[in-house]
Symmetry: C2
Subunit: 415 residues, 2 copies
Amino acid sequence: MTELEKQGAAAKDAAYTLAVAGTERKNAALLAIADALEARAADWLAANAEDVAAARKNGMTDALLDRLTLTEARVRGVADGARQVAALPDPVGTVVSSVTRPNGLQIERVRVPLGVIGIIYEARPNVTVDAAALCLKAGNACILRGGREAFASNRCAVEIMRNALRAVSLPEDSVALVQDTSRASAKELMELTEYLDVLIPRGGAGLIRSVAAAAKVPVIRTGEGVCHIYIDRAANLEMGAEILYNAKCSRPSVCNAAECVLVHADVLEAFWEKAAPLLAQKRVRLRADAAALRVLGAAAEAAADADWDAEYGDYILAVKTVESLDEALAFIRAHGTGHSEAIVTEDAASAERFLNEVDAAAVYVNASTRFTDGGEFGMGAEIGISTQKLHARGPMGLEEMCSWKYLVRGNGQVR
Amino acid sequence: MTELEKQGAAAKDAAYTLAVAGTERKNAALLAIADALEARAADWLAANAEDVAAARKNGMTDALLDRLTLTEARVRGVADGARQVAALPDPVGTVVSSVTRPNGLQIERVRVPLGVIGIIYEARPNVTVDAAALCLKAGNACILRGGREAFASNRCAVEIMRNALRAVSLPEDSVALVQDTSRASAKELMELTEYLDVLIPRGGAGLIRSVAAAAKVPVIRTGEGVCHIYIDRAANLEMGAEILYNAKCSRPSVCNAAECVLVHADVLEAFWEKAAPLLAQKRVRLRADAAALRVLGAAAEAAADADWDAEYGDYILAVKTVESLDEALAFIRAHGTGHSEAIVTEDAASAERFLNEVDAAAVYVNASTRFTDGGEFGMGAEIGISTQKLHARGPMGLEEMCSWKYLVRGNGQVR
């Protein structure tokens, strides 16, 4: 057995215990983890300082360094995150449906954990705890593989979590960290079908795609977002400009931010009169098609083909003019990633067509795509936003980190 | 583009239309398919006769020949199956949940089709229509790849179905058949990630495992069943014997049939006194451990290690004696396939432990495992019994052939 297979087998054993551990013990573990992270903040910060120093030496960019770096405030934030997960309702054991059949069999469909979840992510030490806490609450064991630049931080965090688990008499192997940060170990994790029930990559589009392409374990694709705002001919243009501004500028780096606006030709000038000054406040660079360029002039540059599929994650916006709702729908179908799509319109028939025909996790009428989020949807924390259709679609909260089983009670029925 | 990529692209286009086609048109298509299959039964039977003649010449076994062969009665059965699917409730468009958030956003979670489903199966022409009908009802396009020994039958059935679709103005590419029956084309289908949302292998364990190992498209594993009946020390032994007899003998070839019985040592003799004569009626061969052999004598033979993991699909039964419920649970965990497991007991505490701790799609108290079936569970027809935890577990009916999307209605909300 390789090291990783041993971790897999231990995680699978732990998962059997976690599956029946009950809400109280799982919550006790989460609170113990939160307390221990704060009590041992100095250790965690010291380990993180090692990572940061090495990364700086190796020329890591400032943006990535910022995501790698822990501070006392961030440690408190991570600990509070674990406490918030403890406060969420436990999905495990919920009776999803129940029926008594004519032959007297009582059939209940009950939520149960998935089992063992693998998480592959980048050099963000907070994800180590956030992901483990969510897995734990839903009764799942997890095997974590974070970016190697954060290895010292992750090792320390996982050791703290394993100690806390032991302290409340839950198996420490409920949370495991891949010790080997080579590419070979990532590949081995992606092929660990005997022990992993699912693999969730968290991070940029490059990471997601490479994991989805290489994995033999079932993968849930998350966070690929080329989201559109369509300004219909019947739009309230003021509202449209506000929604676009929010969807683009409130947090451009996240996956539910808008990357492209589609504007109906009939309202082209009137819309940009309202929208351009707003976007200019944040110096948003506009990459526009010819029709929009004529209106926007020097405020925009010409779009290239690649702009229609770009996930900028930045203050850049692709701008496309369309002649009809049909053209907008076809464009979204060709260029969307199935994440979040919005129409701004006062025309109820157009709104309903958009809702029905757009094939995406979340489809909006007269609201910003930025709401696609577990918290905003009322499901508490989320492990990611799924852009696939199998198992989970959209924000993936605790319920989506579960499977179900059928419990059947009889009194001697045979068939 | 390869032929298969063209079929994939066409199926994806068709899926967009099917997704919004509405219940009436889908039902009209199913009824048209049923009528056309009966009207053109002579064509289908002639094509099938070609397949059967070739297969016989190539030395196909009688059991496989029986599954390959169509008769007038079987054609009527297949057509009636399509009519029954038409009569089932349409899962698409169902509002699964709905919430109005404090900010006024109305969020509905609505069932939508998965998209394009690939089905890989053996030389059983009836599956061609059964699978296509279920896909169609749930709004999914399908790409079918049946065993090459049934190719002429399948080509004829698919042509009949495509004509029927056209007749009701639905896209004929909603149902496609892979034209190349080589291994290379199977591999290409298993890697058609751009067009397939999921791949469902239907058939024996060998087929399922090879598809799961080779596919890049997400696979739903179905139908692997090493199911156990555990006769507890507190069992009603008469009931236990009847349940075991039913689970083993009512249809030994199917995946929900029992392959192994676990008997508590305290009731070993008393149980076998009741069960052995029943099983002997069907000449069930018993492969027993040492303790059971002492009781069963010449009626059994000694089990080998391989018997504990065997899916016989036949009148053979592995027999294991256990000292406790704990031992039974550990044995099932080591040897079960997560399909269906049953305890026979009058002890409520043991029953609840078994229900909670056994990790399987369906867990039974005092009933036969043979009930794990879409029809028996009240969900109508099924495409298979999933033994995995992701997306669908247990009988996979029309609802499980769907995904969902979130429809969000606002009046200008920004975040």
